[in-house]
Chain length 321, copies 2
């Protein structure tokens, strides 16, 4: 999306100029490395867009935007350890390239660096920013814990799953947007609405991610089709299948989960899901949250042109299927 | 020390009333458990004493004091993972009792809880408190990284070692004291002096800890005599021995480090250290920093009675040898 490129390069320039020392090398090299791996920088862009939308310059919201991106990367560093993930965005993860201790500690430092960025915003806003940031950070950790707990849990309900992705993914989008609103001096009412926009957009986006695992095109998705199915990951597709299945289909699902051959497993999953209408149910859930997001955006009591925020929503969902 | 008991029970009462949710259980149970293991609560007491010293009530400094203690416990949680420590204060560490992932994540949450406590202080002080806290947190991580790096490093100089313990241990004592001074509205000059008192007290205290490993009485120290020697830990004793040794003693030190029998190893260490005057050199270093601490305290340009802070210094060094 052409319009967003200005924002992206604005963020990248700032990230490249981050004031990070070089020593101790084993603490700061991993941070430099991880921040250079890239990413879509959606979250800091949200902060800039929200600030501009409510009448502030993007320059004045830059530290808070960077804080959000640093926090996001901190949480990825620690999540990668917990998920024993060898690869992140095509590169070796920190615990793989260095070791787990270094991944823990450089993650911790990056977390503090996020607070340092936030503390660059004006003193009058700091109280609101810090309180929202603290609340969000705790919720993200709670979401990650729920996600880990689900692996050991026999049945996960749709409600539990949505709550998990709300915490693990969406609250940070809401926080990023509300940061912009706070910095621009938006009313509490409008702050709450833009936060709700972020929450619902995040949930819709995560559901779309689950859908794309099985129903996306490989080149669009950028990862192996059916990867979640192969790994028996409890995505919304499987959770809905479990909820919708009658006894014969429950039996088929159990067989599918136990299947060792990857291609057979994916074929079985597609077949059972089609019988149960899993795609349609999942797609409907996505639409519900997408519409909630748009509704929150439209309700905002502010006369500015919302086209850029709407474009962003479109951009996030341009991976059509 | 009788006078400090009031402060300790004030802290314990507040820690017992911490507003922690119960779910997700795997996230919050470890925090409840770890905070109940206890500890001397020296750091939060420092905040209260400094606040009172500069004319503020201890009640008004309580959130910042709790923040320091929560941060300290967060750093212990993550350090225990890195040090593969099975026991902390006589109890199983979190990664032992639960697992590493849970120890990482509940540590992260505890870190945010520290920021939440700090944000309870008045908005006017928040900017100074957060900036000092951020700087301190990063330094503590840098100290931990240096400590880990030392394990792989052939030679460590006294200067490097002192810098490591300054970062890993002392800056948090300085921060705890300066928090009290900030909250009481002390001048920048006096804030810097009480910070210096904390820094130097912390270094002296850590050197004493190194000394006690070999020259303390078991019941005073509460842990196995010579534990650091057995583990080949690079404490100031060994660093000074390496620096002071001539060729024959360097050879003896190499033999001592390689010795497998614990009693023989400790005997060898005592013998070599006595030849080199290691005890005296180490004790002298401790005295230098202790006197620097006292000098900073005396230079403070404030008329209040300093007896309680002096008593605290005495208390910290009452493990005479």
């Amino acid at each position: 999306m052409k319009q967003l490129e200005t924002y992206l390069s604005f963020i990248e320039t700032e990230l490249n100029q981050l004031d990070l020392p070089s020593s101790p090398k084993n603490l700061y090299d991993p941070i430099h490395y991880f921040m250079k791996i890239g990413g879509k920088r959606i979250r800091p862009i949200l902060t800039l867009l929200a600030a501009e939308y409510f009448g502030e310059t993007k320059e004045n919201a830059l530290p808070a935007a960077i804080a959000v991106e640093l926090f996001h990367n901190f949480s990825l560093m620690h999540d990668d350890i917990m998920d024993v993930a060898p690869i992140r965005r095509g590169k070796a993860t920190i615990h793989e390239k260095w070791n787990t201790n270094i991944a823990i500690l450089s993650g911790d430092v990056l977390f503090v660096k996020a607070y340092q960025q936030l503390a660059k915003q004006s003193q009058e806003q700091l109280y609101d920013l810090i309180n929202l940031f603290n609340k969000t950070a705790i919720e993200v950790c709670e979401g990650q814990q729920m996600d880990m707990d689900f692996e050991q849990q026999a049945a996960v309900s749709t409600e539990e799953y949505i709550e998990m992705i709300r915490l693990k993914t969406s609250v940070l989008l809401g926080c990023a947007l509300q940061f912009g609103a706070i910095i621009a001096g938006a009313s509490k009412h409008n702050q709450a609405l833009i936060y709700q926009y972020g929450i619902n957009l995040g949930i819709a986006f995560q559901i779309q991610d689950d859908l794309l695992d099985l129903y996306g095109e490989q080149e669009q998705v950028g990862k192996q089709i059916g990867g979640d199915i192969i790994a028996n990951k409890k995505t919304l597709l499987c959770i809905l299948a479990d909820e919708l299945a009658d006894e014969p289909n429950k039996h088929r699902l159990t067989e599918m989960y136990a299947e060792k051959d990857h291609s057979t497993k994916i074929l079985l999953a597609r077949h059972i899901f089609e019988n149960l209408g899993v795609y349609e149910h999942c797609h409907k859930q996505k639409e519900i949250y997408y519409l909630k997001a748009m509704e929150a955006l439209e309700t905002i009591d502010y006369s500015q042109n919302k086209s850029l925020l709407v474009s962003l929503s479109d951009y996030l969902f341009n991976r059509e299927y």
